[in-house]
Amino acid sequence: MSSDDHHKKEIDELSGTETTGHEWDGIKELDTPLPRWWVWTFYATIVFAIGYVIYYPAIPMIETSSTGISGVTARGQLEKTMAAVGEQQAEKLQKLNITPLEKVVGDDDLYRYAVAGGQSLFKVYCSQCHGSGAQGGPGYPNLNDDDWLWGGTLDKIYATIAHGIRYEGDDDTRLAEMPAFGRDQILDRDTIRQVAAYVRKLSGQEHDAALAEKGAQPFAENCAACHGEAGEGNRDLGAPNLADAIWLYGGGREQIVAQITNPRHGVMPAWLKRLGEARVKQLALYVHSLGGGEKTTASAR
């Protein structure tokens, strides 16, 4: 294609339409005229775009962007949404504040709200220790199962969350301390090994029968007061059940020996002052709903 072709008006013989002058492999492009209304529509979009840029934040700059006269920001919109949601929830939270826990269970709508809210609160305040699914971990109880250190009824769970465990800042906190039988030389090493074997026997695990037999006596003297004759535990004291399949610090021989020798004591913060009545109720209802929650009457044991 020579350069002066650019300036020559060429009319396509068949269609009678002017061509753009471009040619590829013998194919030319027709310069079909645009309808005028279409052109005006195009101009209208330009006018709209100018208005848009003036009204909304649109022009990117190095660290920020133009704000636009509307002052709309994504953060501002989020705040608005959150405020609206907060307003909506205020009524429900107020209702939750004054309704006893057992009554909440009977109120379908309030119960669903409480459990859903409790789930998100759990993710924020509890999941660091108990895991996002409340499945716990070594040293941190699994809240899904049916084994409770301090009780699994709604009221007991509420009390645990509200005041915490061994938490210094709360006078009503749950307190229990297991003596350090090894460290404080209450029992000697051999006796501790015997007691450990006996505990494994109580929980139906594989054990040394001769050792376990010797451990029965020291167990009855030193441990049964809190953990019970058969190792069934005592929730009023926070003494774990030693006869079941669930272990907070592990059920292996060495782990039991370690716990008797120099016990670990977990600490849980008290939440009532930080979160308030309604939020703690939400958390209690959520934890209770995970599958291990007990009825008030069933917790009498």
Partner: protein, 529 residues
Amino acid sequence: MSTTEEVTTFTAEAVNSKANRELYVARKKIHPKRAEGFYRSLKWIVMAVTLGIYYITPWIRWDRGPFAPDQAVLVDLANARFYFFFIEIWPQEFFFVAGMLVMAGIGLFLVTSTVGRAWCGYTCPQTVWVDLFLVVERAVEGDRNARIRLDKEPMTASKFAKRFTKHAIWLLIAVATGGAWIFYFADAPTLAKNLLTFQSPFVAYATIGVLTATTYIFGGLMREQVCTYMCPWPRIQAAMLDENSLTVTYNDWRGEPRSRHAKRVRAEGKLVGDCVDCNACVAVCPMGIDIREGQQLECITCALCIDACNGVMDKLGFEKGLISYATLAEYDANMQLAGSKRINVAGDTVWDRSSIDPEKVRPTDGKLNAGMKHTGLSSFIRPRTVVYIAIWCALGIGLLAALFMRDRLDINVRHDRNPLYVVLSDGAIRNGYEVKILNMKLEPRSFRLSVGGLEGAHIWLAGQQDTSGKSLDIDVKPDQLRAMKLFVKAPRSSITATRQPFQFVVEEIGGGEAETYDAQFVSPEGAVK
């Protein structure tokens, strides 16, 4: 306008004529003249039927009992249901609609490959509504010539009154169009009452507003511009045509050379074609084109030019069909018979009109050459159309079979992911599931949900105190889904793998439908025997 012999000649020019094109073209107003004839009658019928279907359908009632709406055709967006007479479709059954759309697509291939752009010319809403708007325009402002005169007149009270009346009626039609649309999405009588008392939701009025605007603008103001510039269909449909598809064709083998003074010229001993260049075909064209320039993108094949030309041929005492539905194959054969030569224009091979010999077309007895081809229905049956019909039928039979064999009970299960399992104090393993039971019948039903393939398993609903049951009895409301959080517990003795397959079995109590869901029971390593 002038009168040549007994035929009225029109001053009409194609809006897309080659002579005057610019960079940006202002729309040339088209004043289609009213046509009369077979195709016009056919179009009136199609228009009545399609508009009737559109406006009446939402008002048809269909008794489905107390648990479902009694509107025959209803898209219930709020409850995610689609009702079509005896068929009810849940969202997960939407493939029926997708299948229908595929059938519609294949159907369109079939229609286009046989009768060309029939969709555009007869049934497209744009065509139907433009036709309706033209009826109003003619009633208020008169036919073509009256309208052209009116356009040129300065604004007077009477012109203003006519214009006002026309636009007012157009807007009424547009409001009715938008108004009818929303009745497909809610109970029509209730919605109508609420609409009139201004109690309907904003979205109802907004939808009517948008559809009123589009109907008024597309049907009244833009008309052919929509087809020519906005619609992708003409491009797609043109690609589906082949040499055996019917298109509206000006048979120039018969019409050329055209003459406005045919009688005089014939008397002089010269031979001319049948076309008397009266422009009747251009005057009636709603797209404002001249069909005699051959197949064009703008032509929607509404066939009104056929009606117009047939009327003229009748008056002249010639056979009908100077403009007719013809295939390209038929046209080529006839052009050849007429003695036309193929010539090269700018790289394209086209028939040369000037080489047509009228004597070959109409030998001395004045009758059309009997050898001229006319397409019969036989051209419809060819491999391509047979394949379309076969696919279409297969799809239709498949969808019908699926429709009559589909389940009205379904179960969906989602295993709790966090935690995957819970070890209980007695050493048993518990898994949590979210189970959904879908009762897709319009009556309340009771089901028994049990666990299969997991020895000694117990099942209970979250929150239920009794955890020793072997099955659960569940009532599901009519046409509803019931979602439940439930737990399954299995003793260690029955755990054989960390991921153990088992089944949720849901059976209708008292006999009826049953469904099984293959689920997994997850256990920790240490629990496996």
